[in-house]
């Protein structure tokens, strides 16, 4: 078992428009990418549980083989700039992934 923070070379979080967050995981080598991809650690259900959101708010999980990256897209609980927003650009919402066990 290892944590995603040890396996991924980049884990980033950003808004994709004001209504969505998109999280990208990049891997440096194919073996590690394949290990994470095949591990089933990243699913709609596991991400929903990790973030404490309804599964319907996990709008997409994409495996980009060519760049050895995994993308997770979520509906933002509040729109960017709303009164309850705490991260206008959505740059600090990746942290739950850092400790995800694979």
């Amino acid at each position: 078992m290892a944590q995603l923070a040890e396996l991924a070379s980049q884990i980033r979080s950003k808004n994709a428009g004001p209504m969505h967050l998109t999280l990208d995981l990049f891997f440096d080598d194919r073996a590690t990418y394949e290990r994470v991809r095949r591990s089933n650690a990243i699913t709609r259900a596991s991400i929903a549980e990790l973030y404490g959101i309804p599964e319907g708010d996990v709008v997409g999980i994409y495996e980009m083989d060519r760049v050895m990256a995994i993308k997770i897209s979520l509906a933002r609980p509040v729109a960017a700039g709303d009164l309850d927003d705490s991260d206008i650009y959505g740059t600090q919402q990746h942290t739950p992934l850092l400790e995800l066990d694979v």
Binding site: K14, N15, A16, G17, P18, M19, H20, L21, T22, D24, F26, Y51, G52, I53, V59, G60, Y62, M64, R66, V67, A69, K71, S73, A75, R76, P77, V78, A79, A80, G81, D82, L83, D84, D85, S86, D87, I88, Y89, G90, Q92, Q93, T95, P96
Partner: protein, 460 residues
């Protein structure tokens, strides 16, 4: 049609500081046909659209325009930009044109400017709601009459179509209001018959400047060379490189779905794109395909003023206070509600606790007790006066709240500033962020021509 067209993207946003050395290199090493740059985004939040304020610093926008318009005239090529002034409303566009006119006059330049206003009338949005041609885009809310009523300003992300039309009217300086970021880069190639799939995919990479290079910063130039069945991207700055990984990875940036790009005119499938390294610093792309849509779909953004904000930043180091910050904050809320004569529905009070749970959007909190806590008292009221009153009263309450066994009776908060409270100003929300379907491409854009510069201003 020419077999190749070269597009220069000087950086990711007008006003972020065009690097002169890279611009000179690009002009020296490439036969540039178009200079295009994005001027704005909804990313910084709805306030800029609501207030008609520029997002990038106006002095820096002027500096960048001076460099780019001088280059465009000397090269004899058109200059195009979209989402003027950051927000892209008519107010923003007019402000940007004031800067453009000044730059042209002071530098003895002359252009035929085409202005594309993309403000949207409420009547169009209402009509689309009635005909059922509105899709929510993640707000999870149906668009209702009340949302439209309370909206103060609406703009549309138009596509390349009005930019092409503006060029066809003879403009060589195109200033667009709110538009798809791809529009200023794609207009000239599309008007000359280049493949739309490749054109839009290249535009998507170029709009972020040099972000698709290994250094991954948008604040530098990127050159795109578009051919009949491929395109190539290369940064003119020799310290930067495009690699297959950097270019392919960029397609993931700020997008929910990495397999396609949507524009009003249709959808680009980029999942079939092939990337090839050409030399050390250049990448060649083939295979992106475009599926046109029969009628346009247009994303509209509308904002409403939510109120006015006042804040007080403060710090806490006392472990007794940090330990019981939640009940202390609760008591502050109650004290404000009970003792202030401001009605409860005229204000919204939040105490943001940095060090515990202020940053996460998802109620993620740290269980460890921090040694130091940062707080921001955040009051939003129907008027600035209400916001100031609530903020001030919350601040004095929290400062002096006492509890059993309290050791430090001096005060609970450390303020960095005097005055401790800051009136922030108007707060806006996105009241409309929806897709209007089946929109006639002529309905929204209002194209106006103007001769600017040496031959003096005037409506053409």
């Amino acid at each position: 049609m020419q077999s190749e067209i070269t597009i220069l993207s000087p950086l990711g946003l007008l006003g972020y500081g065009v690097p002169e050395a890279s611009l000179e290199r690009a002009r020296g090493e490439f036969d540039i046909d178009v200079i295009a740059v994005d001027s704005g985004s909804m990313d910084p939040g709805p306030n800029y659209l609501g207030e008609g304020k520029f997002f990038a610093d106006e002095n820096m926008v002027e500096r960048d325009l001076e460099l780019l318009l001088t280059a465009a005239e000397e090269e004899g090529v058109p200059f195009l930009t979209s989402t003027a002034g950051g927000g892209g409303s008519g107010v923003h566009l007019e402000k940007l044109m004031t800067i453009v006119r000044r730059v042209l006059e002071e530098n003895d330049l002359s252009f035929t400017a085409g202005k594309i206003f993309t403000d949207v009338e409420k009547s169009l949005v209402r009509e689309k709601v009635r005909s059922g041609d509105v899709r929510e885009l993640g707000s999870k809310q149906e668009l209702g009459e009340e949302d439209i009523d309370r909206t103060s300003r609406i703009v549309a992300q138009v596509g390349a179509t009005p930019f092409i039309e503006t060029l066809e009217h003879g403009a060589d300086l195109v200033v667009g209001g709110r538009a798809s970021d791809l529009s200023p880069f794609s207009a000239v190639p599309l008007s000359e018959g280049f493949d739309p799939g490749l054109t839009y995919h290249l535009s998507k990479i170029l709009e972020c400047g040099a972000r698709a290079t290994t250094a991954s910063s948008g604040n530098d130039c990127l050159v795109g060379i578009l051919g009949q069945d491929h395109f190539e991207v290369v940064p003119p700055n020799p310290d930067r490189r495009c690699t297959v990984e950097s270019v392919a990875a960029h397609t993931l940036y700020e997008k929910s779905d990495p397999t396609e790009i949507k524009v009003p005119e249709g959808t680009v499938d980029i999942s079939t794109a092939e990337f090839e390294q050409v030399g050390d610093r250049r990448v060649r792309v083939t295979g992106s395909t475009f599926q046109p849509r029969e009628s346009h779909n247009v994303l509209v953004e509308g904002v409403t003023k939510r109120g006015y904000r006042s804040i007080t930043p403060a710090g806490i180091r006392d472990p007794q206070i940090i330990d019981r910050i939640e009940p202390l904050v609760d008591r502050t809320h109650r004290r404000v509600a009970e003792m202030s004569d401001v009605p409860g529905d005229a204000y919204n009070l939040t105490v943001r606790t940095y060090g515990i749970d202020a940053v996460s959007l998802m109620d993620d909190r740290t269980e460890a007790q921090p040694e130091e806590l940062g707080i921001i008292i955040d009051a939003v009221g129907d008027t600035q006066e209400i916001a100031d009153t609530i903020c001030g009263f919350a601040r004095s309450s929290l400062l002096h709240l006492t509890f059993d066994g309290r050791i430090n009776t001096g005060g609970n908060l450390a303020f960095p500033f005097s005055p401790s409270d800051v009136s922030v100003g108007p707060v806006y929300n996105l009241s409309i962020y929806h897709l209007l379907e089946h929109v006639d491409p002529d309905v929204i854009p209002d194209i106006q021509l103007e001769t600017v510069g040496r031959t003096d201003g005037g409506e053409a």
